[in-house]
Symmetry: C2
Subunit: 416 residues, 2 copies
């Protein structure tokens, strides 16, 4: 039974955590867990308290700079990273050499899922700042033994030249930045789908690669197969896409995953993903509310993996649904509708109040010589698929912001 | 005998190199070396042909993208870096997992020399681009187990905040950028020598930290001890400064080092450093003319290391001496004279022909309320120490260029 193996791992981690990790010792003691053997069954496990990002954040603010969720003395940690601050103020997170190797192993699963081997040549296109996602991809690539091209401080043009001159076969980037690179190449008259050797792209940071419209756009522009992956600074890289690409596998060898109804906290087929990581003893999370909204797929995957699969990857963030005139709309859902129109180059959306009603306004760049045609079609598609009226306006090509890491295409201008 | 141990290592490397490395097999066969055992003695070793940067560059241009100095099939290499292009067009250089660990070990010596341990917290301040120096410092820090703060894509202000909020104790940067960070901090009213925990700085990329004036300036601004180190993309990190700081040790466990008279190629106390690296079987250099001008120190070092010591580190580049009216002047020598004046904030120099005579012009930024006083004093110091007339002009504070990686403070505008 998978759960027994997972709980064995969990109890092994619990021993040092209960002994020296101030944050979890207090939290678990309050829940009357004082011995690893207090957690024998899945039912025991489900009695454990949740961990929220807010708690972790408050702990770090009260005990700067790293908080009290530390199992070992500070000098045992070798890596520091920071959340991107997508939601709230950034969290700092520490890894030991062991837990960093565990991150690399989790990326090993992602590479295996996408058919990437030591023969491949990788570009992990980012600035090598404090964002853990791509640093861990880099460590995983080194463990795999694949050639990896360092590219911090490069412009998009320089990255494209490095991809071409080194015959890079795998691109790792946010969906937004993969499209941005293709756009820059096109402006230079370079059709990457023809001249580059990139055959696989792996994405993170945004749900894009699980959205059919965005995925197809990336695949067309790069002449490659786009793979999603999912993870979080405080959790690890928990989501793996396999070659049949029929959803996103949970990496249940390294994580205990639950999907819970956000209202009742009961197990559900659709709801919030709650995770315990099993390989990060130095700074773990236990029953962590990821805020990711997901949907379990039924039936076994044809790839042969026995782990459960999320249909459509991460559908949205529990906390970023835009509630517009009573309708619950995820930015990712809108993105998927808008990018089905190949003539849309870039877009941005805002929600604002007019006093009586909320309005959703979308700005689009369209390559259609008559861009208003596209605007009308996009508005119709949003109305048809969501039953939502949107004001769609056109702006000249190249005027909307482009992003290198995570995009921020939607703003909510309503007073809350 | 050290040389016997070195030659054992060398012969071990020679076996696969003679078998599968096209570049060196040809070069060595032409010199009638076809078997590792052909090199038994130091005299045999001294008969081996030199390798020049020009040769390597021509080889890469003729056999793009990586040339033929490759002992293993391409898929065995895991890291790619590039020379900074200080001299000539950039060289690409590949490492295997093994040779990359060897780089990390060489950095281990540099950290040990400077008294840096796993308890320290490091910031390796650079853009994480293709420059090998600081990437290898990063790998060495991970091997050491010291916490290392990723900082690609950060502004100088953000780096200063990260240094302060994480209690960083060791800064690794070019001398120029260490001074730049201190200058930015001062502009924000932050005195790093008082408020930062940095106690050691380690430098690379430029000779600065071996120049007494630059070294003292860094130490004063950071309230730390500044250590030099030396290395090159195609060679490795071969120079180690120990705590007595009485010069730069050659790492003779990992490199065979010769100092040769550039005119006669005979062993000398002062001349060009010629190096063979012993841990980089996949893409080695054998009797490589580094172009670094160095001077051996006599006598044993009080630190107890038995390796030889270079007096004043790398004094200059054989090929960057500015010949001004028949005088041979290294930019580093000028820097050392100019920066002895604490009121000089930044400087730049150019050499130009006036038709009959060459002129050296130096521009300085001085914090002296009467900057011309500084200019006169700098000109007098250059005349006194070098017997050279220079035109020294003042420019307003903050107008000369600042550099993040290698500085380019001198330009030669003469038609060659």
């Amino acid at each position: 039974m998978r759960i027994q193996t997972q709980l064995n791992c969990f109890r092994e981690m619990l021993a040092p955590v209960l002994e020296t990790n101030a944050f979890y010792r207090q939290k678990l003691t309050e829940a009357r867990i004082t011995d690893p053997n207090d957690v024998q069954t899945l039912d025991d496990y489900r009695q454990l308290p949740f961990t929220t990002k807010e708690e972790l954040s408050v702990d770090q603010v009260s005990h700067p700079p790293y908080g009290t969720n530390l199992t070992f003395p500070l000098e045992q940690y070798t890596c520091l990273h920071r959340t991107s601050g997508t939601t709230g103020s950034p969290l700092r997170w520490l890894d030991t050499a062991e837990s960093w190797d565990w991150w690399g192993r989790c990326w090993g699963e992602i590479y295996r899922g996408a058919g990437v081997t030591s023969v491949d040549r990788l570009m992990i296109a980012f600035s090598f700042g404090p964002f853990i996602g791509f640093w861990s991809a880099y460590h995983g690539a080194q463990q795999l033994g694949a050639l990896t091209i360092p590219n911090g401080g490069m412009t998009s043009d320089q990255r494209i030249r490095a991809i071409l001159s080194n015959d890079v076969t795998v691109l790792i980037a946010t969906p937004t930045y993969a499209l941005r690179l293709a756009e820059v190449a096109e402006q230079d008259g370079i059709n990457l789908s023809e001249v580059s050797s990139v055959r696989v792209t792996i994405h993170a940071g945004e749900p894009g690669a699980s959205l059919p419209a965005t995925k197809q756009r990336i695949e067309t522009r790069w002449g490659a197969r786009a793979y999603d992956h999912a993870g979080a600074t405080e959790v690890g890289a928990w989501g793996v896409m396999c070659e049949p690409q029929a959803g996103l596998h949970l990496n249940e060898d390294e994580f205990i995953c639950e999907v819970l109804d956000p209202e009742t906290d009961n197990p559900a087929d659709e709801g919030e993903l709650v995770i315990t990581n099993l390989g990060r003893v130095g700074m773990p999370v236990i029953r962590y509310r990821t805020g990711d909204y997901v949907k379990l797929k039924s039936g076994a995957c044809e790839c042969g993996r026995e782990s459960r699969v999320l249909d459509g990857g991460v559908i949205g963030r529990i906390d970023n649904a835009l509630i517009i005139r009573g309708l619950n709309v995820y930015p990712a859902t809108l993105e998927n509708i808008i990018l089905k129109f190949p003539e849309v180059q870039e877009f941005a959306g805002r929600v604002y109040g007019t006093g009586t009603l909320d309005e959703l306004e979308i700005q689009i760049e369209s390559t259609n010589p008559n861009p208003n045609e596209t605007a009308t079609a996009v508005a119709a598609a949003i109305r048809d698929e969501l039953g939502l009226r949107a004001i769609v306006k056109t702006v000249p090509l190249g005027t909307l912001p482009r992003y290198e890491l995570k995009s921020k295409r939607f703003t909510d201008e309503r007073v809350s």
